[in-house]
């Protein structure tokens, strides 16, 4: 399936510092059209489009909006999650630096649909250099009269991966440690400062103006049965052409990795970053969709010279460091995994370690409080499934030539 620019249609086309270049590309026409529709009609359109969250979890966007719209509350909030911290992801950075206006228009449409007067963009601290660009875009939109009864505030993070998780993100906006909350209640009923809140990823929101302008039907014709539209991927690692690519949902991993990013002698592809899947080369024809593999679209390619256990060990070190520490399965589990994987990577694994890794994986997936701990074992499980021999060869007894 081909490359198609829906989310990236304005990137490297408009001047991100000049709103008139955006207006020349149908800018803010979707907002005007939305204002002519009833709030419920806007939500129905998004529901009918089949748009699902692009931050990794894939929750239906229109349903989230509907829940917030129906929640009682004197004040409601829209939050754009620009805390792109997943390892190997940089597509939101590319979007923000090239087309902040579409995002602002989308936040305004979302605010109208659910009845919010205030929107936030939560920008990760590492992207501080984009702050001026975003503030400039908001003030230009205000000057042009597009944000009449609506405030958009840019809030910066302070360096914490887990703040990309929506409840931790809200804690951070409220000024607290970015620790996850117990759920339910979910944000559409009880979110920021206890008020109904929707939190959408940058890329999810970028689709909104196009859906409003062209209709749900236009959007839902792209993609697969349960994955509509396109997906923006960040491709890096052992590739000749790293970068951002937008493909119709359901495109094959091979097309992205070999044809577009020009990877050679691929051993594995990590799809979805630190908590993502590890896909061996034999499965390179897997389609990219919510039904199969997707995540937030981080694609890290490892060639034949790479060691899988080193990569998984490095990944687990990251997760252990970024665990917020609130629940024990994640806090302790990631640390134990780092320790065990570290021994394997030095060739000092024990036979029982593999069983421990498998049991621990199950416990963490079942009992962690949020997506971080629940998904942290995925690289371990995948690598044990596809590269079990690599682990077995690193068991101490085998290293010494003794019978294991």
């Amino acid at each position: 399936m081909p490359e198609k620019k829906v989310v990236l249609r304005n990137c490297e086309v408009i001047d991100p510092r000049n709103i008139t270049t955006y207006l020349a590309r149908d800018g803010f026409k979707a907002l005007a059209k939305a204002y002519d529709m009833a709030q419920d009609e806007v939500i129905e359109e998004i529901k009918a489009s089949g748009l699902r969250g692009r931050g990794g979890a894939g929750f239906p966007c229109g349903l989230k909006w509907e829940l917030a719209r129906k929640s009682q509350g004197d004040e409601k909030y829209v939050i754009c999650n620009a805390d792109e911290g997943e390892v190997g992801t940089f597509k939101d950075r590319y979007i923000l630096e090239n087309d902040p206006f579409t995002l602002i228009e989308a936040i305004a449409i979302a605010g109208y649909a659910i009845g919010a007067k205030r929107g936030y963009v939560y920008l990760r601290a590492e992207y501080h250099y984009l702050l001026d660009l975003l503030i400039n875009a908001v003030s230009q939109a205000k000057e042009q009269g597009f944000l009449k009864d609506y405030d958009i505030t840019i809030r910066e993070g302070a360096g914490a991966y887990v703040c990309g998780e929506e409840s931790a993100l809200m804690e951070s906006i409220e000024g607290e440690r970015g620790e996850v909350r117990y759920k339910p209640p979910f944000p559409p009923t009880e979110g920021l400062w206890g008020k109904p809140t929707i939190i959408n990823n940058v890329e999810t929101l970028m689709n909104i103006p196009q859906i409003i302008l062209n209709g749900a039907n236009w959007f839902s014709q792209m993609g697969t049965e349960r994955s509509k539209g396109t997906k923006v991927f960040s491709v890096s690692g052992d590739v000749k052409k790293p970068g951002v690519y937008e493909l119709v949902m359901g495109s094959q991993l091979r097309e992205l990795v070999e044809n577009l990013a020009m990877a050679e002698k691929v051993k594995v592809v990590q799809v979805g970053g630190a908590t993502g899947r590890i896909i061996p080369y034999e499965m390179i024809d897997t389609p990219l969709s919510f039904e199969t593999i997707l995540g937030a679209g981080a694609i890290t390619v490892l060639n034949e010279s790479r060691d899988i256990i080193d990569a998984v060990h490095k990944t687990m070190e990251f997760l252990a460091e970024e665990s917020c520490g609130k629940c024990a399965p994640c806090r302790e589990g990631t640390e134990v995994m780092v320790e065990i994987l570290g021994r394997f990577s030095k060739g000092e694994g024990e036979k029982r370690d593999i069983t421990v890794l498998e049991q621990l994986s199950q416990a963490m997936m079942l009992s962690s409080m949020c997506g971080l701990g629940q998904a942290a074992p995925i690289p371990v499980i995948d690598s044990l499934q596809y590269f079990r021999g690599d682990y077995e060869n690193r068991i101490r007894e085998k290293q010494g030539g003794a019978v294991a």
Partner: protein, 148 residues
């Protein structure tokens, strides 16, 4: 902390927002001293440990004095695959300090950080708020020399 009159007109939540206060203090003083954290705690009517809890949660807040230029080299997988170790080694050689340390003259602090979202231009690092990409040992020399 001083609050300018125009800031009082903003949302009341912001006025009592611990993270915003700490970020502002970090920008102004370069780090969060024990005295400052105690002062913030008192002004908000919360315990010092709660302030300390927030101050130590976020990697861009520091409770120790930091160098004028804070170097953060990305240690995540995509940069690692593009030889970030070479860059780490050359910063260590140029400055004579290891990750977690600050030079004696107070010019540089050196840290390793998690993915900074510049994987398409790896290896990458940040110096304060600026991102430097496609790094080589030669580039490191030039960049560090340019830091006054």
């Amino acid at each position: 902390m001083n609050k300018s009159p125009e800031k009082i007109s903003t949302y009341s939540e912001d006025e009592r927002n611990l993270l915003l206060m700490l970020k502002e203090a970090q920008d102004r003083f370069g780090y969060l001293s024990q005295e400052l954290m105690a002062e913030v705690a008192e002004s908000l009517g919360i315990s010092t440990s709660e302030v300390y809890g927030v101050a130590t949660f976020y990697s861009f807040l520091s409770t120790k004095p930091q160098g004028k230029h804070v170097i953060r080299i990305c240690k995540s997988l995509p940069c690692f695959l593009n030889n970030s170790q070479l860059i780490i080694n050359s910063v260590e050689q140029e400055l004579g300090i290891r990750p977690g340390e600050t030079t004696a003259d107070g010019r540089f602090s050196f840290e390793l950080t998690n993915c900074i979202g510049a994987c398409d231009k790896a290896p990458a690092m940040m110096i304060n708020n600026e991102v430097h990409v496609n790094l080589t040992p030669e580039k490191i020399s030039q960049i560090l020399k340019a830091c006054k």
